[in-house]
């Protein structure tokens, strides 16, 4: 590598001489508080000390709009190619934008050559500069290396002593800089240049090596991170329009007002805009913002690197800044996908009410999202300094904005949870596990059998059904408690019993003089509802203490229930929630993954299940 140095004043004179020449000279200039690439009329307009330009220099090789063909209306033989290209020098390109140009060079020359792009590119000379200012959205150190920005002809280093050091990268660059007052750099200058070009460091980094991205993203196609972020997407296309590696375009025909002649143009387009993948006949092959965001992330992190063996995202951070909704940053998306499976997010206790002497009913919210759970799933709740424990979710997914859990004070985590006050924060992971798939049982009769705390997870499914009552047939709810003081959700139980075609029966193990309902164990209620149950058309949901299952299931089988129509939820010690720690295992089944909800036929033969 050949190194030169030049005083800033001499460099400005050099730029003036270039402007006076016959090439177009482009460089970074101020636009209000922002920076843009523009044609230089005066060397003093050039501003090389900038954080980031609004658009990348791509616009000089792939203009926002250009004519591909001209034609006479109605005469197919009149189509004529149109290439507008002129020699230019672009001054002040950051390394990541050079890396992006290297990608575009490959994209437009691989397979069929795109002459419109390449003729402009081949007549250009690129003078880069190492960054002088931080930009909080930038993460280029994670995405590119020295070898990716060899598209430059010269690289400037601001030495902070009123000189630039220059790396001479190409012969074209050498020929150009020889016309300036630059002199060969001495050993001391070369040493400080190497320090100086590393001066500005990124604040944020990718949490995995870039080369792992394609394989990582292959497994992340269903990631909820995409769905959550896409909820805020405006489909405005800002992220792709400011991207230095995006090169998709839209081709259309324009006709003169005379209607006699016209041109076929191409204009920047982007996959994040709703109409991008729509076709005649009203089909849109990427219909939702989530479909589009998924495509964008995979194109940057996997498809482009797979095709061209170059980074598909160079980490400039323009998209993150341009996104009004604040969802576009590839760094944030990838790091969020790559977050430790053991890392909780913050939940806030909104309110609680006491249910029994030991049971308290809590309502939590998450920051910026719904829990997005299904009935029967659970979360892991953390109290820093105490620990983490699994709890089933009691609220229906139809209740938006918050979620509820009934928590009995029986251990160290639950004891700490009972000490929480509204506004206190906890850690939440999840939701995890299988669920009561009530959404699949529309039109069926449903039988819910809850023993004690078993009503907590079942309430999620029952309230889901109550909110969509007309979608289901007869609903029967059987609930048992030890005594009157242990009854759960008494007001809601009353409300359920008033719903159409719904029967609720309660029993207490020990009644008292104020109790006019049934007494006895829960199985005693089953014969009382046998006449309204058609087992072949009914799904039964059974949750309660371990001892309850055998007896209840025996009764249901006696009524004629098939084992696949009986759903149970099993309690185990689910420490990690993600199928790793082994504590919840029943034979070879991880309850936190395949359960906690099972159809009885799937665990009937298991030695450890019931």
């Amino acid at each position: 590598m050949e190194y030169k140095t030049i005083g800033k004043g001499a460099f400005r004179d050099f730029v003036s001489s270039l402007i006076a020449g016959d090439r177009e000279i482009n460089g970074v200039v101020r636009k209000g508080k922002a920076f843009v690439y523009d044609t230089l009329a005066d060397a003093s307009d050039l501003c090389l000390d900038y954080d980031e330009t609004l658009l990348p220099p791509k616009k000089y090789f792939l203009p926002v709009k250009e004519t591909l063909l001209t034609f006479k209306t109605g005469d197919p033989s009149s189509y004529h190619e149109s290439v507008e290209a002129k020699p230019r020098i672009i001054i002040g390109i950051h390394p990541w934008d050079l890396a992006a140009i290297a990608l575009l060079d490959k994209a437009f020359s691989t397979g069929q050559s795109d002459v419109n792009y390449l003729s402009r590119r081949n007549q250009s000379l690129l003078i880069g500069i190492y960054p002088t200012r931080p930009f909080k959205h930038r993460f280029s150190e994670s995405m590119i290396t020295d070898e990716h920005y060899q598209a430059a002809d010269l690289m400037l280093v601001d030495m902070e002593d009123d000189t630039y050091a220059i790396e001479v990268i190409s012969d074209k660059g050498r020929a150009l800089i020889q016309k300036s007052a630059a002199v060969t750099a001495d050993e001391h200058a070369i040493q400080s240049l190497k320090r100086q070009k590393q001066r500005v460091q990124d604040e944020a980094h990718l949490s995995m090596p870039r080369k792992d991205l394609p394989e990582f993203l292959q497994k992340q196609q269903q990631s909820k991170v995409i769905d959550r972020r896409a909820e805020r997407c405006f489909s405005c296309g800002s992220c792709v329009l400011v991207c230095p590696t995006c090169y998709c375009f839209h081709v259309e025909e324009e006709v003169d007002l005379s209607l006699r002649a016209g041109r076929r143009t191409r204009t920047w387009d982007g996959c994040m805009m709703e109409g991008f993948a729509s076709a005649a006949g009203g089909h849109n092959f990427r219909e939702t913002p989530a479909n589009r965001l998924r495509h964008r992330v995979l194109r940057k992190g996997k498809y482009l690197p797979d095709h061209f063996h170059l980074p598909g995202c160079v980490g400039c951070g323009r998209c993150a800044k341009a996104c009004v909704a604040g969802i576009a940053s590839p760094l944030e998306i990838l790091n969020e996908m790559n977050r430790s499976i053991y890392l909780p997010e913050v939940g806030t206790l909104q309110k609680f009410e006491n249910m029994t002497d030991k049971d308290r009913f809590f309502e939590f919210t998450l920051e910026g999202r719904d829990l997005d759970h299904q009935p029967g799933q659970f979360v892991e709740l953390s109290i820093p300094g105490i620990g983490e424990a699994p709890f089933s979710i009691s609220s229906s997914p139809t209740k938006q904005g918050s979620f509820e859990m009934l928590i009995r004070n029986v251990g160290k985590v639950t004891e700490a949870v009972h000490r929480l006050e509204p506004g206190d924060q906890v850690g939440i992971r999840g939701p995890f596990g299988s669920h009561f798939a009530v959404e699949r049982y529309q039109g069926k009769d449903l039988l819910f059998i809850a023993g004690g705390l078993g009503l907590a997870p079942l309430r999620s499914a029952i309230n889901y059904v109550m909110d969509k009552r007309e979608d289901y047939g007869r609903v029967t709810i059987l609930s048992g408690a030890r005594d009157r003081s242990q009854r759960l959700f008494p007001e809601e139980v009353k409300r359920w019993s008033r719903a159409p075609h719904t029967l609720v029966l309660e029993t207490l193990d020990q009644g008292d003089e104020a109790w006019s309902g049934q007494t006895g164990v829960i199985t005693t209620l089953i014969p009382m509802v046998a006449d309204r149950i058609t087992p072949s058309d009914t799904k039964a949901f059974v949750v309660g203490p371990p001892v309850m299952y055998r007896f209840v299931i025996r009764e249901l089988e006696a009524l004629g229930f098939d084992d696949k129509d009986i759903l149970v939820s099993l309690e185990r010690r689910m420490e990690c929630g993600v199928g790793k720690c082994g504590h919840c295992q029943i034979d070879d089944i991880y309850v936190c993954q395949e359960g906690p909800v099972f159809t009885y036929d799937s665990i009937r033969e298991s030695m450890e299940a019931l």
Partner: protein
């Protein structure tokens, strides 16, 4: 030259600013009259014609007796185009609908003369709420380039393409500094482009004259505006300046 489409312009409640945009086309107007036969255009001529291939309607309908005139034009027209925000969505004229009591509106505007018969008024309607509309040209005022593009498409017999993406896209390609980054607010993320982002480009937040895009993410817009410290009332006011969301008309 009798094969050229016969074109007419009509105005209802409006400032006639959209027709003025057309009258101000200058150079292109010569090309335009080569392309079409303008048979009625009160802004620039006095002739009348019995029927039209294309009728451009400017303005919204704000009193019962205008409905008859509009229906009559519809009957005599091949293609009917709502020209500008007032015709396409009701535009600023719909602000009065939010007040509810229209008698009070008349008192506030006309003072002691409020009950004179020609000042009759009812809840504003867009042209499409009275008769069927074939095409809409959005904007307050319209964009002349888009108008020419539409006329060309009619003359060629194709469907004109109008943007279905938001103003943000045009700000990006124009290299406008995002107003949200300058501490201002803007409805650009949900409003239909096609204006060349002229307001944000001049430092004024988009107010929505071209209406919202299909499937606009209005929840995200509300969230973003709230994050920029707008109250619910201020957000509603923003959404209502131009009627971005269908209201219940009495």
């Amino acid at each position: 030259m009798s094969t050229k489409p016969k074109v007419a312009f009509f105005d209802f409640a409006s400032c006639e600013g959209c027709q003025l945009q057309i009258a101000n086309l200058e150079e292109e107007i010569i090309g335009l009259v080569e392309l079409v036969d303008v048979v009625e255009f009160r802004e620039v001529m006095t002739e009348k014609a019995p029927s039209y291939d294309i009728a451009f309607i400017e303005g919204s309908i704000t009193r019962a007796k205008d409905e008859g005139r509009l229906r009559d034009i519809r009957k005599r027209s091949g293609v009917l185009v709502a020209l500008g925000a007032c015709a396409a969505t009701g535009g600023l004229n719909k602000l009065k609908n939010l007040r509810g009591n229209l008698e009070q509106v008349r008192r506030d505007v006309y003072g002691s003369d409020w009950d004179r018969p020609h000042l009759e008024t009812y809840a504003t309607r867009a042209v499409g709420e009275i008769v069927s509309v074939d095409f809409q040209i959005h904007g307050c005022p319209i964009n002349r380039e888009e108008f020419l593009h539409m006329v060309e498409a009619f003359a060629l017999g194709t469907n004109p393409e109008i943007p279905d993406y938001p103003v943000c896209a045009e700000c990006k390609t124009a290299e406008n500094v995002c107003l949200f980054h300058m501490g201002q607010i803007c409805l650009g993320p949900i409003v239909r482009a096609g204006c060349g982002a002229i307001c944000p480009g001049n430092g004024v937040g988009c107010e929505g004259c071209r209406g919202i895009i299909p499937h606009a993410n209005h929840n995200a817009m509300k969230d973003v505006l709230a994050e920029h410290n707008l109250t619910v009332e201020q957000i509603t006011e923003k959404f209502n300046l131009f009627p971005l969301y269908p209201e219940v008309t009495p």
